[in-house]
């Protein structure tokens, strides 16, 4: 497996110290890392899953709107940040692998390194009370 770019490595280290749930994906949408607070919400552990391709993790959590309608992947903030290279924010429902339904708010932004190297995206999310 090839070495990650330094900005991605530092983002992981930062995420590992923060109490906010964080996901980091590469330019292909592969889930490179999620921290312990994210594990709590997603209901799975990074040490168990390792990296996951977008096709794997994108369908795991069954995101739905407030009305209970399935959300198309292209509406998810992390996907928007990746595709459009712009910050994106949104809130919706997910069901983690622990089968708990949670309402979450997500802010995602693209990761652009030195020399305009596009590296992926990072999402921070919170479980919110309605």
């Amino acid at each position: 497996m090839s070495q990650k770019e330094i900005e991605i490595i530092l983002a992981r280290h930062l995420a590992s110290y923060l109490a906010m749930p964080i996901l980091i994906v590469d330019t292909e949408g592969t889930l490179l890392y999620y921290n312990e607070p994210a594990e709590e919400i997603l209901g799975m552990r990074y040490t168990d899953t390792g990296e996951m391709r977008a096709s794997e993790w994108g369908v795991l959590f069954k995101p739905t709107s407030d009305e209970g309608e399935p959300l198309a992947p292209e509406r998810l903030p992390l996907v928007v940040a990746l595709a459009e290279r712009q910050p994106a924010r949104g809130s919706f429902w997910i069901r983690g692998l622990d089968n708990v339904l949670r309402h979450i708010d997500i802010a995602a932004f693209p990761l652009v390194g030195q020399a305009d190297r596009y590296l992926g995206a990072l999402a921070m999310f919170w479980e919110v009370e309605l």
Binding site: M1, S2, Q3, K4, E5, I6, E7, I9, L10, R12, H13, L14, S16, Y17, G113, Q114, A115
Partner: protein, 281 residues
């Protein structure tokens, strides 16, 4: 064959004096000479002054590869003899920034009031190249540059020629933020540059206690540097960028202690000014 000479092995600040006479007090500078006579200069600390006067007057091109622009790595530039020679092409490679060009940032030092001579007034023809540039070639050398973990944009270099690999990571804190260092290969800063190198010149600025008080300053402890060398499976390791407060006797002790504790499979040669290495065919 690639000939590698250490002209400055000290970190942060030049440290001349009787207690550092054996390891040397000059800051980072390593010369690499190729089979066909191409010359690379890795960083331009105070060691570059003596290197400059040792180079033949027949040399018409030299490439200076800067890892970053902290003063201990550029302070010798104004005293590099080839920059004062007409008819010489000096190519300076260094990390890009999001705002200013490499030339503009070096001008901050090479101009009054910090330095009496402007960069533009030097006699040599100077060309600037911004890195990381992925893979590029200089003469008989194939070079890879990549950003590594150190405050402010900093790159490391992997230099290949004649079947040999030299990796130069003088300022590097791969353990930063890592709760269990080393992590796997793919999550370790600098791994791709150093993997399997014949010679690794790597930051080993602190002892264990010093590192604990200086986390995030961009440097490694002896233990971490040895662990990085082991993880990357290099063949020969040179602890480098010695703290200016460390005496020759202290460096002997800590390098010997780390070698004994880790019992590495690779050779270890302390970064002593004047040491030469011959790599490759």
């Amino acid at each position: 064959m690639m000939s590698v000479t250490l002209w400055g092995t000290r970190g942060s600040l030049a440290a001349p004096g009787p207690e550092t006479a054996r390891y040397g007090g000059n800051t980072s500078c390593v010369a690499v000479e190729g089979r066909l006579g191409s010359v690379l200069v890795l960083d331009a600390g105070t060691g570059v002054r003596r290197l400059g006067v040792s180079l033949p007057t027949s040399l018409k091109r030299v490439d200076i590869l800067l890892t970053h622009l902290h003063m201990d790595h550029i302070i010798g530039l104004g005293f590099f003899a080839l920059l004062r020679r007409e008819g010489v092409d000096v190519h300076i490679w260094g990390p890009t920034s999001t705002t200013l060009s490499l030339r503009s940032r070096l001008n901050r030092y090479l101009s009054p009031p910090l330095f009496p001579v402007f960069l533009r007034d030097l006699e040599a023809q100077v060309t600037f190249h911004e890195v990381p540039a992925g893979h590029f070639e200089i003469g008989e050398f194939e070079i890879t540059s990549a950003l590594v973990c150190h405050p402010d944009p900093t790159v490391g270099y992997r230099v290949c020629s004649d079947g040999a690999v030299l990796t130069y990571l003088p300022d590097h804190e791969p353990a930063l933020g890592s709760m269990q260092f080393p992590l796997s290969d793919d999550w370790t800063s600098g791994h791709a540059l150093a993997a399997g190198a014949d010679l690794l010149i790597h930051d080993a600025q602190y002892n264990r206690e010093e590192y604990e008080a200086r986390v995030g300053w961009g440097h490694s402890s002896f233990d971490q540097a040895f662990a990085f060398a082991a993880l990357t499976e290099v063949k020969h390791f040179v602890p480098f960028h010695h703290d200016p407060s460390h005496s020759d006797d202290e460096l002997d002790f800590w390098i010997t202690e780390a070698t004994a504790a880790i019992r590495p499979l690779f050779a270890v040669t302390p970064g002593i000014e004047g040491t030469k290495f011959a790599l490759g065919r």
